[in-house]
Symmetry: C2
Subunit: 642 residues, 2 copies
């Protein structure tokens, strides 16, 4: 029989009781300790480092896995991997700074796209005649007759939960009530007195990494408050595939992931309500967007096949479900509209971005990139929209990068390299001492290294660079961005050859998508009228540096529009407008999904896209000219695959 043991997580002091034999990581998940895990506990990422503080004998001996993933220095300092330690007795561990997800800078603002206010929630104030022997109509008939006469509302249904209490509500309110009607079809609430001036809604963007929530006044369309939170599913794995794998273990695990998400969304709502005078019962509708995996996990729909070729989602079209059904803490009779998805890897967030950027009705030819762990690329206008999904991976969010981290306090977010002296200038989030590098800086690093000649267009470091910053290390060359004396940990912050390869892979994935869509559509760079860059990450990158490394097709910078969290904008539009929902459904119908893996020249294009900015330099004339001017133009042209 397994006995129960206690694990204490420092510095927060969180405690959890678990069965002996359980891993520290599982304990951390249970108690919500802030411990990162990218691979979901499969012993691959080496990110869930903890330091054993007390009763280390109960942690068992170090595993082969840990010997590979931890450095000898770390091992001697008492570091272990939380996923590798099966707890045998009480234990106290410390979660070091590098293993924390930390306070994140979460982009929640997006463009504002005007939309005609026509929410699905409507309120109608009525005074009803009291029942008499001459007029003993049923409560519902009494109500519906009045709604018909006064507002022309024809036979709406009455939500069953409401019906159960209706006789009491009507009499407690002395027959003067405000009726809450959804889509002029179903009465979902009856409130005492005249509350027609209070109609609220909640829009949520469910990102793999981040949740963003918006409380809207649906009488005015005004955003009353904005809040965000890390996705509480992160302890189950940083990417969607790891989470889907977890969900596949069984219905219990699938439900567990849903509950984590629902709790997070409820937590955001609570914060929004705390900022305002709105009660949860007054929020009668919610809209949600997210990629297809988040969509399925939020709805507790089996997500398995979303991750298996040919990646069919369970459902594409938009869904209305009852709030209580999934434990959402708005009004129990409230409705949740989940926007439609497009395909297994092109989700409701993409539909929302298309809605927000209005590509679906533009004459101009638009390309859009919604950059995240998966980057969706789409190309088109009112006539046609093509979309694909690129496995850009979590490198830009800090994973697989030696000193990568998310966009939290102390992260280096912007970098400049002097092409002559190779001296580095960097900016950190909250101006704190640097402790790692976040995605926007990585784009800068590659672009600046390229301009300074620290790397070739192939991404290979130039060992001839005469600077102490470029040095040999175990595993290859590395470049020092910040010296130990400047950093919060006291260690040098470096960017390695391997790190460059990771960013190149991410960039190549996106670029392959853009090329595939352009080829499919038979257009070239100059045909593009607008490039939209969406997503939290996208908001902080330097568009010029991104163009230099070839993250998107080379256009003039005036054509580039950074639209921030446009998915959130789309969710808000769908909340405020019935027409926007109809448009979202039409977008989902209209967009043509392009499966990159099925494209004939996918592999070649991927290799070509690894080059900075691209193997065919003629397609990046401005970048080529700049490099030439700086004297960094490659002597030997890069190899181009056909």
């Amino acid at each position: 029989m397994a006995t129960e043991v206690e694990v204490i997580f420092q510095p927060e002091g969180k405690r959890v009781r678990i069965k002996s034999g359980t891993t520290i990581l599982e304990g951390a998940k249970l108690v919500g300790a802030d411990l990162t895990s990218i691979c979901g506990g499969s012993g691959k990422c080496g990110k869930c480092k903890v330091i054993i503080e007390k009763e280390g004998e109960n942690a068992g001996s170090i595993t082969e896995m840990e010997k590979v993933l931890l450095s000898p220095v770390e091992i001697s300092a008492g570091y272990r991997l939380a996923c590798c330690v099966s707890v045998q007795g009480n234990l106290t561990v410390r979660i070091p700074e590098e293993s924390r997800t930390g306070r994140q800078r979460l982009q929640v603002e997006g463009i504002e796209t005007p939309v005609k206010l026509e929410p699905l929630i409507n309120k109608y104030f009525v005074k009803l005649p009291t029942p008499t022997l001459q007029d003993p109509r049923s409560d519902v008939d009494r109500l519906l007759d009045e709604l018909q006469v006064r507002y022309g509302l024809e036979n709406p249904k009455v939500s069953y939960n409401l019906l159960q209490r209706l006789p009491l509500i009507l009499r407690d309110s002395e027959w003067e009530i405000t009726v809450v009607v959804w889509d002029n079809d179903t009465i979902i609430g009856v409130e005492s007195g005249d509350t027609t001036h209070r109609i609220f809604g909640y829009a949520v963007d469910v990102g793999t990494t981040k949740l963003a929530g918006y409380l809207l006044d649906l009488n005015t369309g005004r955003v009353m408050a904005v809040e965000s939170l890390m996705n509480p599913q992160i302890p189950y794995g940083e990417d969607v595939i790891t989470r889907i794998t977890y969900a596949e273990k069984g219905f219990k695990e699938q439900k567990e992931l849903q509950q984590a998400l629902v709790e997070g969304i409820n937590q955001i709502l609570k914060r929004l309500l705390d900022k305002t005078d709105v009660n949860p019962e007054e929020v009668y509708e919610m809209t949600a967007v997210g990629n297809t995996a988040m969509h399925h996990l939020l709805l507790d729909i089996c997500p398995k096949y979303v991750a298996l070729s040919p990646y069919p989602p369970a459902i594409r079209r938009g869904l209305n479900i009852n709030a209580e059904n999934i434990g959402m803490k708005i009004n129990p009779n409230g409705n949740i509209y989940v926007l439609p998805v497009i395909a297994g890897f092109v989700g409701a967030d993409t539909v929302a971005v298309i809605l927000a950027t209005e590509i679906y009705k533009r004459d101009e030819l638009c390309m859009a990139l919604d950059i995240g762990t998966n980057t969706e690329v789409f190309l088109g206008n009112k006539d046609e929209i093509l979309a694909c999904s690129c496995a850009s991976g979590p490198a830009l969010e800090g994973a697989h990068i030696k000193q990568g981290m998310r966009a939290a306090t102390g992260a280096i977010e912007k970098v400049g390299i002097d092409p002559d002296t190779f001296e580095v200038k960097y900016w950190t989030i909250d101006n704190a001492k640097p402790c790692g590098i976040c995605g926007s800086a990585m784009v800068d690093i590659l672009a600046e290294m390229l301009k300074a000649g620290v790397i070739e267009v192939t991404g290979t470091m130039n060992k001839d660079v005469a600077s102490p910053r470029l040095r040999a290390a175990e595993g290859g060359l590395e470049f020092v961005l910040a010296w130990g004396k400047e950093t919060s940990t006291g260690e040098d912050i470096v960017f390695t050859q391997k790190d460059i390869r990771e960013i190149q892979l991410a960039k190549a994935a996106m670029h392959t998508g853009t090329m595939a869509l352009m080829r499919k559509k038979g257009i070239v760079e100059k045909d593009i009228d607008i490039v939209f860059i969406a997503g939290a990450f996208g908001s902080y990158i330097d568009p010029e540096n991104a163009r230099i490394i070839g993250m998107y097709p080379e256009t003039t910078l005036e054509k580039v529009r950074i639209v921030g969290n446009a998915a959130g904008t789309g969710a808000r539009m769908a909340l405020a407008s019935k027409t926007a929902r109809k448009t979202a459904e039409e977008i989902s119908d209209k967009v043509t999904y392009v499966e990159l893996a099925a494209e004939p020249n996918f592999q070649a294009e991927f290799f070509n896209s690894n080059v900075l900015p691209y193997a065919d330099l003629a397609r990046y004339p401005q970048t080529s000219e700049l490099l030439e001017k700086l004297g960094k133009y490659p002597k030997k042209p890069p190899k181009y695959f056909h």
Copy 2:
């Protein structure tokens, strides 16, 4: 602090642990012991007699209430009233035969009214193409596209619960599935392979006293099995008012009544399924009828105002609700259609009876009586239908009658009295030794006593009758139906003057209803073309004797049709046919409810109706002639109130 004590109920030996201070009756409810209680434990009916067998000191001393309601003989024999005893320690009690509801004869058969088979549940078999990279449609799109192409089904919704498991079901079934669609609007089930030949439904008549259930094959319309059960709410009170009063105590109590009902309905379903090869998951729809109180209690809708003038129901129109919502053990996505009601005291059972008797489309002028604890009377044809409710009370079901009992084994169910010798011939249920009198016999007793001159048309016993059977007793005269030597208890079975008054009250209530409707409609007895007598009780009465005592307007017997449990028939029709449901809604709209208490001459009519058959004997010419022929015609005409 209250300690826990144990009460054992003999002869079943059921045990229950309750807090000391709880009454025996509450304990009996908890453990489901077969103990009658008409007043719901308010110490008024004196029916919940138990005999203390062991540890009587824990029953406390006898209360004033019990001294009134129990005879000295009973008190000396250890009788107590279960509602008056607060248990102070362990106790063993015996439930005597007279306190048991016993095995009941429950009428469940009703007329068969042909209906075009058009159930709301339809099944469609489809083979779907498997997903490929060239065809990565979502599972739902794949399914709906095929349903559209093969069966012309346009965009049905998919039940959310089903959607959650859909990806697994489709693949486990290797894409060959039968889709279960409700109302061609919502997909509520997906079954592996071709199961189109198996479509089942469940119809339930929820009576105050009795539940009747029918399992239907919806491919053929055939009734596969029939079962019935006493309403498990009976321990909470025998009539609807007592139960509503119990429900008013709080939401918990209201829910408790619902749960009791739902468990009963589930129990019937289990028996039906056990008789056949049908699985509960294969039952996708259920219909239910019941009076308005049962309707509200089944749906856990606040029933308070149904019992308060002007008695408005919460909802009149028919309702579709999800089976899982109220814990009904058919398929969790199954639909429950609850037929519409008409008013607070004219329920869905009446709508069902009108549906089954087809009064709503007849040219003939019809009167119908659905006899029960409440008797609904309705009058009309295709042009108009008037309906009212009469508080006939539970006397005909045995309550308030000294030796009354339900229609269970040993109940005298039919009686004849020789007008010359006053000798009695009786028949009992199951030919057992008599132990009480059930309703059908009470009608006979009154009619036979009237014909034999044992009573006057006023109901007063004629003390000059020369028979040892008519004797004086405490409280007035009584008539011996069976001598002690013939009965199972060894005691004489008698019918008292007070019993006669009770039946007269019931009869007068019904008759007042019939008169009020006739007057409202401006017709007289001879205008009536058909008299329908419905209800379990109605199936066993002698129509002639019922006419003699004036239970219904005097017509020729050929015009009288006994239709049995026509409410059950209506429930089955609504299960088998969408048109029947539409008709039911139209009936609910069309029927004009007449509130008897609001009728100007209600009181006078009630007094007139107390006379057997009626104060205006000229309106009962056949009965008058018969009595005259037998020499029992009243010398002094009864008083007629205007």
